[in-house]
Structure formats: C-alpha cells, structure tokens
Symmetry: C2
Subunit: 469 residues, 2 copies
C-alpha cells in the first residue's frame, strides 16, 4: 500500500501516463544484446529537467535507488536495473530537444534524450558538423554518450564525447539542478564539474542537457584502403599520415586478416578492393579545399608510403559509394563475427607505440593457451584502441568455449594490457560488466579517490548503485 | 622548540639544504608583479615525488598547511603564502626532468617543475610540437600550467593545458601518490581524476608529473595582419577563416585601436604594417604542405575576405622576421599599457557569438560611468577570451583611478560578463584575487558541489587554503 501511495505521488509529479508499471517493460529492463535482464519498480519518463529533479527528490524521500537510461545501447550493463524490482528506471527519452544552435559560437545545446543522429542532422542543417559518430548513432542518446564518454570513429581528429562537450546541465543526487550549460571555450572558475560527470555512468547525478562543440563541415573527404605486412609498418604509416596530413587525418582504422576473412565469408556481397593481407588500414582525410585537393593529398601520401615500403597495396575510393563501401567493410566485422557465434570481446587501449608488442605477445600467449583460438582484431589504431576479440577454434561450440575459457582469456588479455600501462575499457565504460575487474586492477589510490568523490556527491548511494564502483 | 624539532624532521626527510628558512625568501613569498607578499614558515624543495609525499605527510603530522608553487608566474596570487608565517611553501622547482618522450605515441612525460620552454624545446628536438605557449613560457612550469589550466595563444587549434594532458601523477592531501601517468587517448575506467586535479590550483593535491600530448611539427606557418571596421565583421572573418582553414587556423588574435595606439606611442621601434583601424586581427595558419602552400592559402583567404567587405586592409608576413614582428605587436600591448600606469584588468570569456554585443554594451556603460575612461581590449577572439583592460582617463593618476574606480568597474564588467553567460576568469584562475567574486557569482549548486569535493579529498583543508574556495 505504501508502495502504491508512493507511485501515486510520482504520477502526480510527472503525469500518470509517464509512470510505467505494467505491460512489457522489457525494452527498458534488458539490454539490447540480451546479456542483462532486470526488473524495475517502475519506469519514470519525465518530460523536462524540472521533472527529472522532482523524480530524484521523490526517490530520496522514499529511499529508492535510480538507474538512468538513455537509448539503452550500452555494452556494459550500465543502464539496466537489477533484479530486485525496487529500483526506479529513469528514462531520459522525452528530454529530446535540440534547444539551440549557435553557429557563430560553433555550439549546440541538446537535451540528454536526443538521439545522436538527430543532433548530427540538426548540426548539418546549420552547415556544421557534430563529429561524434558511432555504430549505434541511430538510437543512442547524447546523455548516454556523455555519461559513458563515448568514442567512435572520429576520435583521432575530434576527440571523445568528453572533448566535444563544453557544458552540462545535471540533476544532482540531492535533486538540485546544476546549470552548467556554458558555451565557453575557456573558463577557469573552479573545479571542472563537467568532466567529473562525463564518464561517471550515472553514478553521481543525471545529465539532462549539454552544450556540444561543432566544427565546420569539411568540404570534402577522401578514403582509401591500404594493406601492410605487419604492425610496425602500420604504425609507421600512421606516423607518416599524421606528419603529412596533421589534423586533416580523420580516420585510421585497422583490421587484421581474420576480421576481413570473416566479412568475406559471411557477407559475400561486400566489395573487397584489395587481396587479403596481414593488416588492412582504412585511411580518411578531410579537407576544406575540396574534392580534388583532398584526393591528391591522399594519393601523394599513399605513394610516399609505397615508396618507403610501408604499404603493399592500396586502393583509393573514387566516389562516395566507394567510400561508403570501404567503411562498410570496417563496420561489418562485428556482424560477421556474430555469424560465427559468441566471442570474448575486449575493448582495450594501450599507448600507440606499444601496440605491435602488445598484439604479438598477447596473440602468442593466447594461441599457446588455447590451440586454434582465433583472434579477430580491429579498431582505432590512432587512438591506441583495439577491439581485441577472441573467437573459439573452428569446430568448438561457442557457448562451450565461453563457459570454459572466458575467465582465463580475460585474465590473460587484461594482464598484458596492464603490463603495457593500458586500459581495460577504452570506450565502453565499466557498468556491471567490468566492475570487479576495475576493483581488482585500478590503483588503490585512484579507487580511494573515486570512492571519496562518490561518497561526497551521493552519500546515500542512490545513483546507479552497483555500477562502476 | 617544537617548531624547530619539526623543521629538523623535515630536514631529515629532504635534506637540510632543501629547507629554506633564512635569508631572502622574497622570490618565493611574493608574486612577480608585487601584488601579494606573504611570509612562509619555510620553503621546502623536495627532489622527487616520494619526497613530495614525505613533505605532505610531515605537514599532516604537524597540522601545517601547504602552498604549492611552480614558476611563481601566476596572476591571481594562487602560489604565494599568506602572512601568518605558518604555511609551508612547497616548491616543485627541483622536479624538473623530462622523464620520457614517446614519439610513436605522440606523448612526453614531464615533471611538475619543468619549465614550459624547456619542455617545448625537448619536444622540438624530437621533431614534435608541444603546443602550449604563453607569455611566461620561459619561467612558468608545467605543474603550475596544469594546476591553473593555462591557455595562451594556441588554444584555438590545440586546446587549453587541460586538453593537452593525458595523465597525471599527484600527491594527494593524505600524502599518497596517485600514479595516473597514462599515455592513453581513450580510457573509460572510472571518474576522470585527471580533469579534477587540472585547474584545481593546488587545493586538492600536488601535481608532480604529467603526460602531455604532442603534435607533428607543422612544416610551415603563415601570418598576416588585417584590419576591420567593427567586431561583427571581425567575427565574420573568424567564421570564414574557420570554414576555409579548419584546423589549419592556429591563431586569431584581435587588438582594438587603443591597444595598438599605446604600442605605437610607447614602443616607437615597433613596426606597424597597417594604418590604425578600429580592429586589427592577427591571423596565423599552419600547414603540413610547406611554405608556399600555406602562404597561398592565407592569401586566398584574405582576398576572399576583402571581396566580401570584411577587411579594410591586410598585410601578409613574407619572412620569419616579419611573422615575429607581427606577434611582437600583439605581445607588446601589456608592456605598452604598463607605461601608462596601472589599469583594471579583466581576463574574461563570453560565447564568441556574444562578443560584439558584450563589447559594445560594456564599453558604452563604462564610458558613461567614468567619462574619458580608456578601454584597452585585445585577446583570443576564437576562444571568446578578451583581456578587457580599463585604463584611467588621460590626465587622471592611475593609483587614484584604481582606488576610487576599481570596485565599481569590476562590478560593471563582471555584471555584463555574467549577463552573457560568460566567465570572470577565462585563463588565469581564481587564486586569492577572485575568490570572493567567485563565491558571489558562481551558482550555489556548483559551489556546493565544489565544496563537497574539497571536503572529501582534503578534509583538513591543508592544501592551499584560502585559494579558490
């Protein structure tokens, strides 16, 4: 009864239709990959920032914990309730407006529930570029992108979500609204609260809106594939590209032979402009000087790379369709891998200079530990970020492989990452998935600082408990 | 006696010669402009991170507060002890090594006491660019640059000190060492402690080392001066430059007529390539394609700007010496202003789009409030950051002017900044100078969050008390 009275109070605050308790709440209660499934006390869908604050204060009054959720596209179980049926799922989906675009300031103000692709399009209509770009951009939301500091394919040039954010609006754990929606590029007036909330995965407060940096739309871009025989040469190619193109280099993605072999096998319609090679690189340059200039620049770069013996083969896209086809190869790897069954995924980062050593060593250790194991390795070399995925040997059932080998493989990979001074989560965050790993591997001093901050800002542990920390 | 015993303990920890208590400690106890003068219990000069930790723990044992100091080039009194004679001045000057340069990772690891120019030079010797650049680079240190999130002239392209830092080593208020010296471009494993310590002005812990991002050295740069009739056209010129040059635009500095008039008057040897105009802009482009390419690009940009009626006159530097002479004009304004006597300085930022409105309105209000007042206005237009300085009317003594008008002028300027959603400290920080102003103007929610963080990480208020918060 107390429970029903509390829910009635919530209904009075944000409107009855926005408090979901019945019917199929599965879309909120489980993640899209089906790895976690919880049960919520209710789903609250406030319509604006003031209502979010009301909901948080309601939770405080009733001792209810909060799981904020955006587009529910996360990969670490950070936005799914636990199984207790006592957590409130706070959906930001109705806070979905683009509040303003300030072209002269190169900024846009968006609400947390705005879908990334919607924001990209709004920027483009104003003749500007919102450079954040990731696979789930059609359904992920900016609140989630910021809460998890999303990465993606444009980080090399434009930075992570963190670097694209100038200001935030946040509802604190006490249900107060911090209006930090500054569009300033310089502001040295106190601790940087913005960067504290970015990447905090909803454990310190609820991001309700943000001011994002925009950039001029590049007049043209050029894309090429190039093959290399080894990672040392791939790294040398990256350095050459950075030296010659500097900020015009907007993409440098690598794919090992096995990644593209799976694409070839499972997506036979995919166009493969180059024969198989140990490594295939996707390079992209953007240029304000237009089509011809950027094509010429990329061609000259590839020619020099060939002369220096860095690339064995290269193909330059001659049309927008060819550019898309090249990106399609890169983006098809996950789908092709899924056709082979589940695999052990690692979203890791190491210093760029350590990548050849890390890959050689870790792959050798894995192959020794699990004969026949298949490493599907691809990612953002320029950021030192690899999706280092481990697939069962041919003929071994994927579920059996995961059951018997996942823990061991994780330990092996993460030990090598740690030995290189790397990160066990480059762009996906911690959530539920890597919480224990974080506690085991992060320095005790850093963990203590994090816990002190959590305790200070959310002393009742109301915000997304059991995630990250 | 207890006092002497404690100092003996400190001498045993870091060596007697590194504990200064006698002689002229003025270089540590006052700021370089002579605005603040304090008295320290002692100056401690630890030689490495472990010794810094020892010193902090020694302070904890004896209930002594700590004022960390780098190159002592700050402008807000953040690194000068108070007058009590009871604070320990912790000089980081002996932690001055460049620990490592990782060219393939585009990073360098430097200690807090390393002078910025020394680090710039070490990067250049490795064929790379450390883009942080400011007037005091010959004596400021990287620890101070990070503790105050320094800005400077390259922010438009490369960001503030904050954006150039990938990792930190920090001695906490408890005297523990947090080794966060990561050279990773992606790392989503918990709260971003790095960004919390950056800009915290020594109030949360002591930065002892950092990993900094490096960039390829641009092959060539081109510099020009252009004059405009008003700020709307100046802003349109900025937008055109950003659209046409994108990341190749590395500088966009503006100077009002009075700024250059003072330079003309007090530094008659300065070369003035253009006749006086309401606004003079210094533009700089960098380009990996070399001298001819970058000159051509800047020339084409200026031509287009002239055709669009944005610039009234322009001069392109044809040699390195001419480039330097143009920068020299910009950098001479402060010195020229000093020849006129003290003035009321404001280091403010507003959204770039708000600059014309802010300047027109604030200048009109000032001229109405203090007839004959002279606004010397210059700065980093692309960052929305102006050094909006107010000089006494001709014939009024500067000290009399400051005594009677400073408070009133500050209030007027900061009220207008606040009305535009701006910042009262764009790049210089808060320190002692703007502490009360911050308390009065920052949102109560933000201040409460900041105080909670301070209380959590430094519960005994041992770290730089009385600064910022």
């Amino acid at each position: 009864m107390a429970h029903e009275a509390a829910l009635d109070e919530l209904r009075a605050l944000i409107g009855s239709p926005q408090v979901l308790v019945e019917g199929d709440l599965g879309a909120y209660e489980r993640d899209w990959r089906g790895r976690w499934r919880g049960r919520a006390l209710a789903v609250a869908r406030p319509g604006d920032t003031a209502q979010v604050a009301e909901v948080v204060r309601w939770c405080a009054r009733h001792g209810i914990t909060i799981v904020p959720q955006g587009g529910n596209t996360g990969l670490v179980g950070g936005g799914v309730p636990d199984g207790s049926g006592r957590q409130l799922l706070l959906s930001l989906g109705r806070l979905n407006r683009v509040r303003a675009i300030d072209a002269a300031n190169l900024t846009m103000t968006v609400e947390a529930g705005c879908v990334l692709a919607t924001a990209q399009q709004a920027a483009r209509q104003a003749g500007l570029l919102l450079p954040l770009s990731l696979a789930s951009e059609g359904s992920c939301t900016l609140g989630g992108n910021l809460a998890s500091n999303a990465g993606g394919t444009q980080v090399l040039r434009y930075g992570n979500a963190r670097e694209l954010c100038l200001g935030l609006e946040v509802v604190t754990a006490q249900g107060e609204v911090w209006d930090g929606l500054s569009g300033l590029r310089k502001d040295n007036t106190g601790y940087d609260l913005r960067h504290l909330f970015i990447g905090s995965e909803g454990t310190l407060g609820v991001i309700t809106a943000a001011v994002l940096k925009l950039h001029p739309l590049p007049a043209a871009s050029a894309t090429a594939l190039a093959t290399t025989t080894d990672l040392d040469r791939t790294l040398a190619l990256l350095q050459l590209a950075q030296r010659r193109a500097d900020a015009a280099l907007t993409g440098f993605e690598v794919m090992n032979e096995r990644s593209l072999q799976l694409v070839r096998q499972h997506l036979p319609q995919a166009v493969m402009p180059l024969p198989p090679a140990p490594w295939t690189v996707l390079l992209e340059l953007a240029d304000p000087d237009g089509e011809a200039a950027v094509q010429a620049r990329l061609e000259a770069l590839l020619l020099q790379a060939a002369q220096q013996g860095l690339v064995s083969d290269a193909a330059l896209a001659r049309s927008g369709a060819q550019q898309q086809a090249m990106w399609h190869l890169r983006e098809s790897i996950s789908a092709a891998q899924a056709c082979e069954g589940l695999n052990v995924k690692h979203d890791i980062a190491v210093p760029v200079s350590a990548i050849p050593r890390f890959v050689a060593r870790t792959q050798a250790l894995l192959e020794a530990a699990v004969p026949g194991v298949r490493v599907v390795n691809f990612g953002h070399l320029g950021d030192g970020n690899l999706h280092f995925n481990v697939q069962a040997p041919v003929g071994t059932a994927a579920d059996e492989f995961l059951r018997t080998q996942e823990t061991r493989i994780n330990r092996l990979v993460y030990d090598e990452v740690t030995a290189c001074g790397g990160s066990i989560s480059a762009e996906h965050g911690i959530g539920q998935l890597k919480r224990e790993e974080l506690a085991a591997r992060k320095s005790p001093v850093a963990l203590a600082l994090m816990r002190q901050i959590k305790q200070a800002l959310d002393p009742d542990h109301r915000m997304n408990p059991g995630r990250m920390l």
